[in-house]
Symmetry: C4
Amino acid sequence: MPDIKSKYERFRQKVNIIIHGTGTKAGRLFDLILLGLIVLSVLLVMMETVSGFDTKYHRTLVLLEWIITGLFTLEYLLRIISINKPWKYIFSFYGIIDLLAILPMYLSFFVVGTSVLTVIRSLRLLRLFKILNHPKFITQSTQLNQAVKASRGKIIVFIYFVLISTILIGSIMFLVEGRENGFTSIPVSIYWTIVTLTTVGYGDISPATPLGQFIASLVMILGYGIIAVPTGIVTAEIAKSAQNLALKPKKPCSACGNEDHPEDANYCPHCGHSFTTD
Amino acid sequence: MPDIKSKYERFRQKVNIIIHGTGTKAGRLFDLILLGLIVLSVLLVMMETVSGFDTKYHRTLVLLEWIITGLFTLEYLLRIISINKPWKYIFSFYGIIDLLAILPMYLSFFVVGTSVLTVIRSLRLLRLFKILNHPKFITQSTQLNQAVKASRGKIIVFIYFVLISTILIGSIMFLVEGRENGFTSIPVSIYWTIVTLTTVGYGDISPATPLGQFIASLVMILGYGIIAVPTGIVTAEIAKSAQNLALKPKKPCSACGNEDHPEDANYCPHCGHSFTTD
Amino acid sequence: MPDIKSKYERFRQKVNIIIHGTGTKAGRLFDLILLGLIVLSVLLVMMETVSGFDTKYHRTLVLLEWIITGLFTLEYLLRIISINKPWKYIFSFYGIIDLLAILPMYLSFFVVGTSVLTVIRSLRLLRLFKILNHPKFITQSTQLNQAVKASRGKIIVFIYFVLISTILIGSIMFLVEGRENGFTSIPVSIYWTIVTLTTVGYGDISPATPLGQFIASLVMILGYGIIAVPTGIVTAEIAKSAQNLALKPKKPCSACGNEDHPEDANYCPHCGHSFTTD
Amino acid sequence: MPDIKSKYERFRQKVNIIIHGTGTKAGRLFDLILLGLIVLSVLLVMMETVSGFDTKYHRTLVLLEWIITGLFTLEYLLRIISINKPWKYIFSFYGIIDLLAILPMYLSFFVVGTSVLTVIRSLRLLRLFKILNHPKFITQSTQLNQAVKASRGKIIVFIYFVLISTILIGSIMFLVEGRENGFTSIPVSIYWTIVTLTTVGYGDISPATPLGQFIASLVMILGYGIIAVPTGIVTAEIAKSAQNLALKPKKPCSACGNEDHPEDANYCPHCGHSFTTD
């Protein structure tokens, strides 16, 4: 039955184009519907945890959840079928995310529904990161990505320094304030230090002794000041990457193709070819 | 009666100059009075909501409000009369704002005064944005506007990333802390995540379990770190726009084509050609 | 008695050098002692307000305060005597500050000591700003000053925009949350908006309704994002001023003294003088 | 017994290589084990302060602490033995830290264990700063260090300005809000001002009077704005140091002196001179 086989092959190709292509109308429609479904399903998960809302509309929520799980299951199967190397997809990052998006609902048959299963479904959200690879955003996200990557080394050194400081300050504050003022242990003191250093400042724990308030003031000014460091690092990188992008590509040398030369060069710095004869 | 018509036409032109022109003395005076009236009327709206103040001076407040509404109505009518294309103004952004500034008072005859009407009057404030188009501020606001616009693409990608992270962290914290610690639902958890990530830190909800405090610490350090990203984006843009302004393209030397000379140069620094003869 | 007159004149000159000169040993010593006295007196004012401390050491504190006031009075008189135009000093900014530093103590004879008098003495602190004019800090403070001044226009536009947004958001939150959730009036709502937008987040007032929390989240993200704007403005200015400083002074043209020319110039762009013959 | 002496000398050299060398396998292993021990010992100190945990595992914690102290003592002795100038090490910064890391445990024999001794052991953490000198991080940490050092002057001026403002605002808020609203003294008011200005905002003290809330709003906007200053300073420095690193001075062309050529140029782009013959 070569006819059925070729028919199946055509079907696979069609599915492939719809799922992976952003060039065709059907592909773009598929992307939009999928996007809507993911957002809808995440909203559903959220709403299920709102107790007043859930008791009122429980049946509708469950029904909608099953419909969405059904559609996601269909999409998952179509993806496996249409791809040439299905195993590669199944064990890829997004493949696992896609599976986690549908598994919890089926597991709820066997396990009595804990909220863990509900929340795992939120991982569907990770699928939304795919959009950043869309041609419309790719330049922006690549540029940001590069700037963050380039500043990674400095950022790690900075966080390392901050972490050690945090533990030291936490230990000192545990000594100064003590258990009676809410600093019940060094880990809790470290938690307070991070809350203060990052200028979050919940106020669930706050120093009560004059010495503690004095040290806290120093920590705040420190935290207020050192935010300049990561900001400075990332800003310098973004400015550099923006500058690099702005440097237009130059005319290559007609003799050796070298593009790396000053704009007003008379001779190619690579092969010595005279530009004036070009 | 061509005389009346032309008289009306002259009146219209006069009004037009006063309302729209900033060049004449009368126009500047009109702008100043209008600015004062808007600020006064917004102060009135504020004061009406302060319960102690309102019960004491209710009659004065209402009287002043009617006077201001009367003046704004007069201004609105004069604007419509003096403009050549009144409909274009009426349906423009500022036209609608101007109407919303007077409508609530007249509606209060028919509707028993809810506070919604009171607050709508605050929209008069939006008229104050017009000032940013004033010649004195136009360079500054345009430059800021351009920098913000140029960084829009990157900022959207960044906020998109932050939002998804927020929902994920919110879901996890809902699991970890649970309803008994104030994380009553995923939307509330997301609200907490935003409060923490942006380093606002009200403290109305704060983690109580060690694991929750550990995750919260990570979120804080993340929030403390990623503020570097929008700052970096905008700074790079402002620096670039400031640079572009500084580097207006100069007229090249007519003898040797050299463009690298001070703006007030009399002679080309490259070949010594006199610019005054150009 | 010309002898007494010239003696007085010599005394005046000596005092003048000690008070105003930073070049002599005596002048530097005077500055240091004055600095110490100001810091000590401000510490005294602080300690007087700490109730436990004040009841215990009240007599010592008052005694010390009188000694310091006496020394400041002496200094004030010497300044007036030694300066050529005493009235100019008396009505200058620092002259008034110097007077305010001693007046409250003498007034406390006539007025039964309110805490207002105590606090006015804190204004002595303003004298410490003088130090920023010290040669050691003058470059740094001038540079910062210039950067802040250069960015003033943009910062004003930015703050204007933030203030209007603040009032609008405050009005909306007053409507949404209402009196029962702590948003007792529009001014209080505006206070809350500023607390939130600047990411301070006391938590004395925090939204309780889902819609209020949603709007609050938007305000936080807005506040988190727009901090990039003033940072970007100031950073760009500082970077520029640092760059300008880095551009080493160039050799002036030997014919006309002009310093504004490209580093590789062959001819002075101002007078056309050939540099190669220098 | 020259044999024993030379054996001892060989042992010393071997120890020296293991402790100080990062080039050999044994040296790297030693570094890793030491790193692990420090982290473990800091975790132990933390856990000892968690009351629930300590009562349960007290004996295990003490045992582990003694083992680690023993190993650190051994390391300390080996360091003294293997180094040529032991006294220089003993009185160096890290020498004192290393001693403080082991002393508290031995002192606990004589002193009945106060928590001060426990916390001093946290100082072991300071040893972790040594890692920043590791070749892998040295470029990053040097660059950050330089940027921070270069901006030190401006940062000091900035903090000086902030501190004086803080005291002034604190004094005014003490007057405005007074003892009944939690501003119990000027030092406490200053603490509140720092909490507010740095946008930490615990909410343990917050203004209650309208005037106080108005001033607080101004302080917040000020704090929100001036964070731009240290950020701007550090960013400008980092950008400059990154630029300097990118612009290593190049060897000029031996024929025409031109320095503007790519680093891997074979020919001078200005005159065509071959660099390979230089």
